[in-house]
Structures are given as structure tokens and as C-alpha cells.
Subunit: 250 residues, 2 copies
């Protein structure tokens, strides 16, 4: 499994991903899921991936080859992020089809991607590319996208992410969301990669890689747990006076 | 969808369930999912249900008929909760098979149950009965069971439920877990039923039914949100000094 988040805010982008890949519970490896495409100085494009590793790798390979061989459409020639997302969708579908064309196999080569970044003067943004090749972006009301194991870590994103949240605050929110997910799903694991992109900066220089034993991550986890315990202890009690016998007893 | 929790603690049981049933997003109804079987004074047995409503109702009907008609094995004759859970599993499988015997249909009549309570001098407990008819119970380390939409509300249970947690504290924990789930999944909804059973009490008289606009539930939700916001605001910041350029750029 995998867990990746992309947050697109007024001030820029926050991208977070775990690094655990497994082909069965007895075959677990570390693979980063954050991939940067950064050869054209007028654009910064980063991809997050979830799903079949072979599909992911062949998609990345194709993207790189298209750039090198100056294919008509490639990540260095597209004018809009949405165009880049559609291009990624087409490659992804093509790579998946190669392994399912017999229509018989129960084998699932599907992969889901997030493409985020900024192209020239266009606004920064993020797109989620489904295995079917279609895509969605964020909204003012829901400024984030998730791929992989999204449920455990969703409530905290819903609570704290607003369109005008500070980028570093959003980064902490993503780390908390990632921590809740790693606690509940053993197939999501460190190192945790975090990238903060300030809009119009055209730099990918604020990147963090938190290992399992990273001091900051341990402190964040411990403090969040302590604070939640304190918060929980102060909650109002429901009154026994409101209790009644369970109806429908027979 | 549905969300139900059963917590089995040193001091007794805490059961919580939502009340939303849907056959498609355009067909939503209110059905309680907490069912008590309470005609034998030496036992208290409560069932929580998730899944196909027709299967659930025919299972309940069969349980009632078996009691009325004094079937050899029924909820009033079994000696152990595990025996009751196995009996429920058999009925459930039988009811599901009636509607899938052609083996063709993609129709899914499956249902999952939790059976909790106490029989005579036996210890109180809770069992989760899978659609296949097999079942599991709680452990000292994981004193709770969930059915239905279990992911959004799981982190808070993992944080706060210990085997010796006070019953009312566990009740608040379940309400918080339910609230997180209702926020994230529109097919889980009020009223929220909550039952607290003190071990050996042989009474089902501490039952609460919280409607959507219940004052206590609104206050709990608001306070939890405020406290979490306060907690979040105090979290330590990661240092920009640790940032580096994203590797793997090419």
C-alpha cells in the first residue's frame, strides 16, 4: 500500500508520501513515491504514485524517454498542468493495457498518480490521475488530494486544511495525517518525504526526508498523542439521567 | 453503509451504532442497527448489524422464531456467547445462500454482525460474525470490534481504549469515533445509539439515543474540534535548516 497527499493552497504546494512497497506481506521494500521532473527551467513538476510498482516505473521511464527524445508532447512542452495530467493518464492506461490485454487474468496492474507543480506563469496546482486515465484537481473547499490508503488520515486533513493555511502548518498537518495512517496500516511506512513549494519560486529546494527514527517525527508523534489525551480528558460527560432502557427488547 | 463499535472492557461492554441505511445514494432511510434479545432473565444479548438490510432482517426474524418455537438451539438455550455467535453465523450463511444460489448474480446479500452480552455466570464479551459465518472476539490488547465503515474512526479507538478504561470514558471515545466517521462518510448518520452494560448487572437500562440535533452531541463535537485545533497549534515546527533539494531530479 501507499499513502500520498498533495495540498494546493493559496501560497503554494505541500506534497507528502510514504516509502513502503509490498508485493504481499512477506515482500516489503523501500521505494520513494515522489518523483521530480526538472529539466526545463520554466517549470517544476512532481509526481506521486500509488499502485502497481511495475506500472509506475514504466510510466516514469516513458515520461523520461519522451523528454529525452523530444516527443511532440512531453512534460517539457505542455503548457498547462491539466495537459500534463492528461498526458500522464494516456501513458498510464497504455502501460496497464500491455499486461491485461488477454482479458482473463485477475492480475491488477493499476496505478494512481498525483501530478503537481507549476508551469511558467500558469497558476500552481495538483491533479489526481485515476487508473482509467481521467483526472480531477483540488477545489477551494477541498484543497487536497490523496492516493493510496486515504481513510485513516482524512479526518485531520478535513479539520485543519483551509485554502489559506500556511504552507508549513499544512506540512505538519500532512505529517500528522501520515502518522495516523502508519499506525493503522502496516503497509504504509517511513521514510516520509515532504516537499514544500512556494508559488512562483520555481525551486524544489525545500524537501525533507524523515526516517523512521527521525527526532522531529518522534517528537511530533509524542506531542500529538499527549495533546489528544489531554483534550480527550476534558470532554463533557453525557448524563446518566438521559439513559433509558433499550427499546425493541422482547 | 453503517458504522458499529463494540468495546469489551474489564468493567463491561460499550456498544455504539449509527442508523443510516441506503440502497443507493438516492434511497436513504433510518434503521436502528442495535437489536436486543432479552426474554431470558439469566442473559442479556445484543446484536449490531452491517450490510444487506434484507439479510439482517431475516436473520433477526429467524432468531426470534427459534426462540418462540423453542428450537433446540436458540439464543435462550445456548450456554456461551461463542456458541451464540456460531449459531448466528449459521443462520446468516443460510439466509445469504437463498439469494445467491444461482451463482450468476453480482448481487451481494452479505451482512456482518456483532453479538455482545453476557450469559449467566459466564464472562461478558463480544463477537464479530463474518458473512462467511466464522467469528472473532476481542483481546486484551485490542478490546474492540468494528463493523461497516471502520477506517475513519479507528485511530481514536487505538489511542484511547485500554482494557481498564472506564465504561463512560469508552462511551465518549466511541462517540468521537462515530463523529469522525459521520463527517467523512455521508452514508453513516444519526441517530447514534449507545448502550453501556456493566458486567453482571443483567440490565439493559443504560441506553442513549442521540438525535442529529442532540445538545450533548453538538457540544462534544464542537469541544473536540476546538481542543484539537488548540493541540494542533502547539505542535513543534520542523526546521527549514533540515531542508535540502529534492533528489532524483534530472
Amino acid at each position: 500500500m501507499t499513502y500520498c497527499i498533495a495540498v494546493s493552497l493559496k501560497d503554494g504546494l505541500v506534497l507528502t508520501s510514504d516509502s513502503r512497497t509490498n508485493a504481499g506481506i512477506d515482500n516489503v521494500s523501500i521505494y520513494g513515491k515522489m518523483h521530480a521532473f526538472n529539466t526545463n527551467p520554466d517549470r517544476k513538476i512532481v509526481m506521486l504514485s500509488a499502485g502497481n510498482l511495475a506500472t509506475t516505473q514504466s510510466v516514469i521511464d516513458q515520461i523520461k524517454r519522451d523528454i529525452k527524445e523530444h516527443a511532440e508532447i512531453n512534460l517539457n512542452t505542455v503548457h498547462y498542468l491539466s495537459e500534463a495530467a492528461e498526458y500522464l493518464g494516456r501513458i498510464s492506461v497504455e502501460k496497464q493495457r500491455r499486461h491485461t490485454d488477454d482479458g482473463q487474468s485477475s492480475f491488477n496492474p493499476s496505478a494512481t498518480f498525483i501530478l503537481a507543480g507549476q508551469i511558467a506563469q500558469e497558476p500552481h496546482g495538483a491533479y489526481l490521475v485515476y487508473p482509467e486515465g481521467n483526472c480531477i484537481t483540488t477545489s477551494r473547499q477541498t484543497p487536497y488530494l490523496q492516493i493510496g490508503e486515504n481513510k485513516y488520515g482524512k479526518p485531520v486533513l478535513d479539520r485543519f486544511l483551509k485554502i489559506d493555511t500556511d504552507l508549513h502548518e499544512a506540512g505538519r498537518c500532512c505529517l500528522i495525517s501520515m502518522d495516523s495512517t502508519m499506525r493503522s496500516n502496516a503497509s504504509v511506512g517511513a521514510p516520509v518525504e515532504l516537499l514544500i513549494y512556494t508559488k512562483d519560486a520555481m525551486k524544489l529546494d525545500e524537501y525533507y526526508c524523515f526516517q523512521e527514527d527521525n527526532e522531529y517525527l518522534i517528537q511530533l508523534r509524542r506531542m500529538w498523542h499527549e495533546k489528544l489525551k489531554e483534550a480527550f480528558a476534558t470532554l463533557p460527560q453525557f448524563s446518566k439521567d438521559d439513559a433509558k432502557p433499550l427499546p425493541g427488547c422482547f
